[in-house]
């Protein structure tokens, strides 16, 4: 009997609490609704407002239709993009077909031009490779490998160079302290240093004209380069965003470079679009210095069944100079 009594009391307390909570919430809700209704009735008959539409015509609307926008909160499409996170759900890769390369160097010319590279610091290089006297020579273009285990990012003391989810390794040259540890760490010798004030004449003028002196974005390396900091190939995210292929890909007359998305499993050189996995399987794709565990995003197709003789490339090969 006693037991029963306490039980019912507990039930009562329980119900009471729940009820109380519901009333409280309800009351808050009601006041909110009431205040909204109030607002409407207050502004209901204040008349018309003139507004300009996006195409420039003036229209008239009832002011009760007009609601103030809350600017403190970012709109959902605005807040998504973070330069250090990269483009969502993408994973950029490149495939370089060594069988097609004949050292035309158009890739390097385009890259140097588009990124305002000065001096002999070309980011994109075409190496004359021959590991041994008994093995065949071939031409090997290299970009930044955008490694998935980037040694440069590991050693950077200030997080100036970073790895993004879309696979890119970029540099914030507003943060770089110029210790060059990343350059020493990179086994592909891909990074260059601005030893002096870079003389990017054309671009400096252009930026002054467009009042873009504060352009700096890690997504467009070389715009502008900064004295005492490191530069390298950025895989052209500024172009990718506009659905344009990186400059080296479009500039190559021989279709050596394929660029694409690993998640979509497609790569294209502008002329043909291929399945990445099938291409790598069919042509025995490999990556440079796999043994180091850097996991590059750039794949190479071996120089077999070559379209052109290796010697043809020798004409444009300069040992001591990168093209201007």
């Amino acid at each position: 009997m006693k037991n029963n009594n306490t039980n019912s009391r507990r039930k009562f307390l329980d119900k009471g609490l729940k009820l109380g909570l519901i009333t409280a919430i309800g009351a808050v809700g009601l006041t909110k609704i009431a205040s909204k209704l109030n607002a409407k009735t207050n502004e209901g008959s204040t008349g018309k407002m003139e507004l300009m539409t996006t195409d420039g015509t003036i229209i008239e609307v009832d002011s009760s239709e007009v609601m103030e926008m809350d600017h403190s909160k970012k709109q959902p499409h605005e807040e998504a993009y973070d330069v250090r996170e990269g483009m969502p759900n993408r994973k950029f890769v490149m495939v370089i077909d060594l069988a097609k390369c004949k050292n035309a160097l158009k890739c390097q010319v385009a890259c140097n031009k588009q990124h305002y590279i000065t001096g002999d610091h070309a980011w994109l290089k075409v190496y004359k490779m021959q590991e041994d006297a008994d093995t065949a020579p071939y031409w090997m273009p290299t970009t930044c490998m955008h490694c998935d285990q980037p040694a440069c990012v590991t050693v950077c003391p200030v997080d100036a160079t970073f790895k993004r989810r879309d696979g890119l390794v970029l540099i914030d040259n507003e943060r770089c302290i110029g210790c060059r540890f990343c350059m020493a760490a990179c086994p592909y010798s891909t990074r260059v240093f601005n030893w002096k004030e870079p003389n990017q004449g054309e671009i400096t003028m252009l930026m002054d004209m467009e009042n873009q002196t504060e352009h700096h974005s890690p997504e467009f390396t070389g715009l502008p380069s900064v004295k005492g900091t490191v530069d390298k190939c950025d895989f052209c995210p500024h172009a990718i965003k506009e659905n344009v292929l990186p400059h080296c890909v479009t500039a190559c007359p021989n279709g050596v470079f394929y660029f694409g998305d690993k998640y979509e499993d497609t790569v294209t050189n502008g002329e043909e679009t291929l399945r990445l996995s099938k291409l790598l399987e069919d042509k025995h794709g490999y990556r440079l210095m796999e043994g180091l565990g850097t996991k590059p995003s750039v794949f190479y197709l071996p120089p077999v069944d070559r379209l052109v003789d290796f010697k043809e490339g020798l004409e444009s090969f300069t040992d001591f100079k990168s093209v201007d």
Binding site: A160, I177, R180
Partner: protein, 438 residues
């Protein structure tokens, strides 16, 4: 108390003679030249150096490594000799501590000279990332700077107290400074107990700190893929090499001070004899690690390794390599094995050889490796395949070396180089021993 009078007049810091003044002025001139060169480097950028996209580190880094190595003398000569109860160390520990302080301060300064953007130095703290060996360095260098300073300062307290009293009438301002620095040292038992304990803690602390400093310095290189750096041997290699550099520097400074201040009564042939034997030991250990570093990769004959090592053994860097190995290690070991070789003057000459060898050794660790990357050097100017410091780099480097010597000189000017109190205590103990025996 009579004893103290004699000790104080012998060991209290003395004004520089003519030679001392000339020496100090020439150091200041070299430093000013270095500063001018550095300002020019800041204005024009590091194009004033001969570094390039391949030889991306040069003499600044090797000079930095040299300073870090030399600062190890604080650990090896003070703490290790203390823990192993080597009593002969008394008159030379202070000198070792002074060298350690000068070297570690200069290490901190030289590393910023190599930075492309020294104006962004604070980023190292604001955006610090723990996985970068540079961040480890940013932590360990100030730490060991503090530990080195304290190891110099704590044992100085009673001496500052004595000097405060000694100069009370003759030089009141100087006396006031000494008294202030002595933290009201009276020599009471309670103070002595605290001081002894503090010194003991610091002397033990400096061993792990010193080892960490040298190891992190080695890891700056061995965490990278490059042939010649990518070696598990490097930590131990750097620690043993630092012992050589440190003791070598110690021998040189001890000799100069003994001659300049006529301290033959305190720093005797016995001390040179012991230091000589110690130097042989560390040289042999370093030779052993050198063997590991070069011989085994050469026997395994991986292509990259043989290219790198052949450049050292018979290539461009062969003269330097053999100077460093034979002159900096083998000859010292041979000479110092003979009793005559451990007399002060030959020791001094050997010490100079060891220090020069140690400095160039760091150059050989940094430069040749960078000139043999994994992919061939192509499409860049011919001169990028070689590296030798430019005039600016030399001026700045010599400036930093002069600055280290100036720090030592200034400390020597105002700090008793042979611990007065400790010497007095030891002499007393000796007397006591004699009287009890007879």
């Amino acid at each position: 108390m009579k004893n103290y009078e004699k000790l104080l007049s012998d060991l209290a810091p003395q004004k520089f003679g003519k030679k001392g003044v000339i020496w100090t002025i020439s150091l200041v001139v070299l430093i000013v030249l270095g500063i001018i060169a550095y300002i020019d480097q800041i204005i024009r950028g590091q194009m004033v150096t001969n570094m390039n996209d391949y030889a991306l580190w040069g003499v600044y880094i090797s000079n930095f490594v040299f300073f870090v190595a030399t600062s190890f003398v604080g650990t090896v000569a003070v703490a290790v000799l203390r823990l192993t109860n080597n009593n002969w160390r008394t008159p030379i520990v202070r000198i070792a501590e002074i060298i350690a302080v000068a070297a570690i301060i200069m290490a901190g300064i030289t590393i910023t000279i190599d930075m492309g953007r020294p104006d962004r130095l604070l980023n190292l703290f604001i955006h610090a990332r723990m996985q970068s060996p540079i961040t480890w360095d940013v932590i360990i260098i100030p730490t060991s700077m503090m530990v080195c300073l304290l190891l110099l300062y704590f044992p100085l307290l009673p001496d500052f107290g004595l000097l405060g009293k000694y100069y009370q009438d003759t030089k009141p301002t100087l006396s006031k400074w000494y008294k202030r620095l002595s933290l009201n040292w009276t020599g009471s038992d309670a103070q002595k107990a605290i001081q002894t304990k503090s010194i003991h803690i610091i002397a033990i602390l400096i061993i792990p700190v010193g080892f960490m400093l040298q190891t992190i310095d080695a890891w700056l290189f061995s965490t990278l893929y490059r042939v010649g750096w990518d070696s598990t041997n490097l930590g131990a290699y750097f620690i043993s090499g630092a012992s050589v550099a440190g003791i070598g520097a110690l021998v040189c400074v001890v000799y100069v001070l003994q001659k300049a201040y006529k301290l033959e009564d305190y720093i005797t042939d016995l001390h040179f004899d012991k230091l000589g034997k110690f130097l042989v030991l560390v040289c042999l250990i370093y030779l052993y690690f050198n063997l590991n570093e070069y011989l085994i990769p050469q026997l395994t004959s991986k292509k990259g390794a043989t290219t790198h090592i052949n450049v050292l053994l018979i290539g461009d860097y062969a003269p330097l390599f053999w100077f460093v190995t034979i002159g900096g290690l083998v000859i010292p070991v041979i000479v110092l094995l003979f009793k005559q070789g451990r007399k002060p003057l030959p020791m001094f000459l050997i010490g100079l050889l060891v220090v020069a060898g140690s400095w160039w050794k760091r150059y050989l660790i940094v430069t040749p490796t960078l000139l043999h990357p994994f992919l061939p050097i192509q499409g860049v100017p011919e001169e990028w395949r070689h590296y030798f410091p430019s005039l600016h780099e030399w001026a700045i480097t010599i400036g930093t070396l002069a600055m280290a010597l100036l720090i030592i000189t200034i400390l020597v000017r105002y700090v008793p180089i042979v611990p007065i109190q400790k010497t007095a205590d030891e002499q007393e103990a000796l007397e006591l021993n004699k009287t009890t025996k007879s």
